[in-house]
Amino acid sequence: MIPRRTELPLGGEATRRVIPLIVGAMVYLAALALAGTFALERTVQDWSEGLRGALTVQLPGVAQAPEGAEAKARVDTAIALLRETDGVLSAVALPYAEAQALLEPWLGADDLPANLPIPIIIDVSVDTAARIDFEQMSQRLENAVPGSRISDNGIFLRRLVNLARAVQLVGAVVVLIVGIAAVSIVVFATRAGLTSHRDTIELLHLIGARDSYIARRFVMHALGYGLLGGVLGLVLATATLAALALAARGIDATFLPRLSLGLNAWITLLCIPLVSALIAMVTARTTVLRALRRLP
């Protein structure tokens, strides 16, 4: 029986141990960057869902009689004006007790001065599809209740989303850089293989091997270390994500990004070893075919 030994023994010490480790490190970094990007995407969506279509109107409070007739008149005027504005779905004033509770963390429950004019807050929900002229609304409110102010949550949201998108862009750039580094490593490993097996390759060429026949040996080798490195990197990245998720458990911070990933994100991460193997194969094949073109 003729054993199925390859003509090109490419699995030298360097490629057998070092290259899978390097590819593994690349995949690890890429997987973490991707996971961060995916986690941020979910958070951005959460922020958007939570804040979109909501705004807050602040009216000047009435010292000494926060729930008196004057305060009630201001609220009624503002709510009436808001409700007759196209696109406003609802407008509800925050009860004085709740507004007071909001200040408790800073001023304490008992030491709140009686003459402190706590602003009256009205929660307004608007139709996101409607085109509301907030400038005009603000002006009308100011005329009706002097000193009133609109806090558009959209501005805050847009800043947050822009920041999140910038972080996601950085993640994508990291993945791109890691990809370029991985391609460079494969090119280096393939060229090293071509150099160290130059005589064998020339022999195969002279006895009638097509370029694709020789390239296939390199491609299969690249498939091996691409997959091995990919799986290694993904396992390490998964362990890291699990450890981070564990560490983040119990932290109650609404605006911190959640570290949980959706199904699509996990499927994408699981594809990384296949992608790394594919990149390694395509790069190795291209490198070998380009080098063999120099032979007659």
Binding site: E7, L206, I207, G208
Partner: protein
């Protein structure tokens, strides 16, 4: 079979190693290629086994003009040429069997076909007991026979050997030359580059002599049938 027309070869900016070579080899011919060291024997063989392209001139192999043949169409032509290299060029990590099987594997032959052919051929060259041996454990004569088996396993139309007896004793050299004669009898065109005058004298085959980059044909003392096998257009001393 082989046609060279005003072929010249130069390496880099150096002088021409071969100059205006014009000759034809007919199918089934047998020639020795001789000349002093550095005369260009190996270069001529390399041009014939398509390891190099000429600097100028025209080479036709098996009816195809090599200058106009697409690179992708050269591998099938190379498979019709068996080469015995001076330094054997066996792959040390493979057994004798695997080394000999290489051309068949490359040609995409089936596994069973490879096994029967290779075992048979190794027995023919007297290495039936060494089929699993690595080249590093074989003597030079045995390596040479493995190299010959690899060169002929694909039943080439043209067999080229570069100093095939250079590293072995006379008895083994004679044995190898007899193997080449056997192949020649079944139609393979043979060209053997050698310095060994005694072998040339023993076998009495026509001699292509290279000197100063030019080729001349020398017939052996007793005329043989093989004398008609070659046409050397530029040979004034020995016109065809």
């Amino acid at each position: 079979m082989v046609r060279f027309e005003n072929v010249a070869k130069r390496y880099g900016h150096g002088p021409e190693v071969l100059r205006d070579l014009t000759f034809r080899l007919t199918p089934g011919s047998f020639h020795f290629l001789t000349g002093p060291s550095g005369a260009g024997k190996t270069t001529l063989l390399r041009l014939m086994y398509l390891a190099q392209r000429p600097t100028r001139g025209e080479i036709e192999m098996f009816g195809q003009d090599i200058g106009t043949t697409r690179r992708d169409d050269l591998p099938p032509l190379r498979r019709r040429i068996g080469v015995v290299f001076q330094d054997f060029r066996l792959l040390d990590h493979l057994s004798a069997l695997e080394n000999v099987a290489l051309p068949l594997r490359i040609a995409g032959a089936r596994r069973e076909q490879i096994e029967s052919h290779v075992s048979e051929l190794l027995a023919w060259v007297g290495l039936a007991g060494q089929i699993n041996a690595r080249p590093s454990t074989l003597s030079d004569g045995e390596k040479q026979r493995v190299a010959i088996a690899r060169a002929v396993i694909g039943r080439p139309n043209l067999l080229l050997a570069d100093e095939p007896t250079g590293n072995i004793d006379l008895a083994q050299g004679l044995r190898i030359l007899h193997l080449f004669e056997e192949l020649n009898k079944i139609g393979t065109t043979v060209v053997i580059a050698t310095h060994d005058r005694s072998l040339i004298a023993t076998f009495g085959r026509p001699e292509l002599r290279l000197a100063n980059g030019e080729l001349t044909l020398h017939q052996p003392p007793p005329p043989t049938q093989a004398a008609d096998d070659v046409t050397l257009d530029s040979d004034a001393e020995h016109p065809a």
